[in-house]
Amino acid sequence: MTERPLSPHITVYRMYRYTLLTSLLNRATGLVLSAGLILLVYWLVAIASGPAAYRGAHELLSRGVLKAVYGILLAAFSYHLFAGIRHLIWDTGHGLERAQSKRSAALVAIASILLFAGLAWWALHSGAHAP
């Protein structure tokens, strides 16, 4: 194959630009959520496998390390949700001006932090998830 110039030359971008950061985060959180899909299906399969099998899976899924993973998943979900909505609004042709894009990036950051804080608080305080 001949060597041709490739578009995403990540090294030429200035890493502190919010445009790069928001885009990179959307991809990264998407990948995290894809990995979370494995946990979801593992849980569903455990439920379908009956009470005895579920007990073992439940024990595994309740480990301390995985609680951190659920935190990461909730954070990834919170960001990917709002960043995705921002992309959908862009797709309609709106909000593409520089000032608007800057404002929506800030809005996404604030909304996702608030949603994550709310969900994390709920997860820690709901009866089902208390240790």
């Binding site: 299906v41 439920i47 995705g84 998830h129």
Partner: protein, 128 residues
């Protein structure tokens, strides 16, 4: 003057609106996932307990099963499209890329089938 028919000239030379298919399905699944993911997170956090009796009763409800199946399928599809683009962007070398894309596809099909079958098993009363 060319002897080739107009059809022969255009065949294999680009889009008959197929180029936007990936883009369009990614958007469509993302729109569907907004309510589905919010429903899933809220529902699981609302469960009074995570023991087997509670969760299997929840999965066994008709509308829970419907939305869970839609969620698993849509999420797997959206994830497939997203991971595919990441692989296309960052995995180089045609052999490696083809292998990675194949594995990504197989992985997502397995996830989708296992998830749907698990929900169906509980919903249709086959779970022990």
């Amino acid at each position: 003057m060319t002897m080739r028919s107009p059809l022969a000239r255009v065949l294999g030379h680009g889009s008959a609106k197929e180029g936007v298919h990936h883009w369009w399905v990614q958007r469509l699944t993302s729109v569907a996932l907004v309510p589905l993911t919010v429903w899933f997170v809220v529902s699981v956090l609302s469960l009074p307990s995570l023991d087997h009796a509670t969760v299997s009763a929840w999965v066994g409800q008709l509308w829970t099963a419907v939305f869970l199946i839609l969620f698993v399928l849509t999420a797997a599809w959206h994830s497939q499209l997203g991971v595919q683009v990441v692989v296309e962007d960052y995995v180089h070398g045609s052999g490696t890329k083809t292998l990675a894309l194949s594995l990504v596809t197989f992985f997502h099909v397995v996830v989708a089938v296992a998830g749907v079958l698990a929900v169906l098993k509980v919903a249709l009363g086959g779970a022990p």
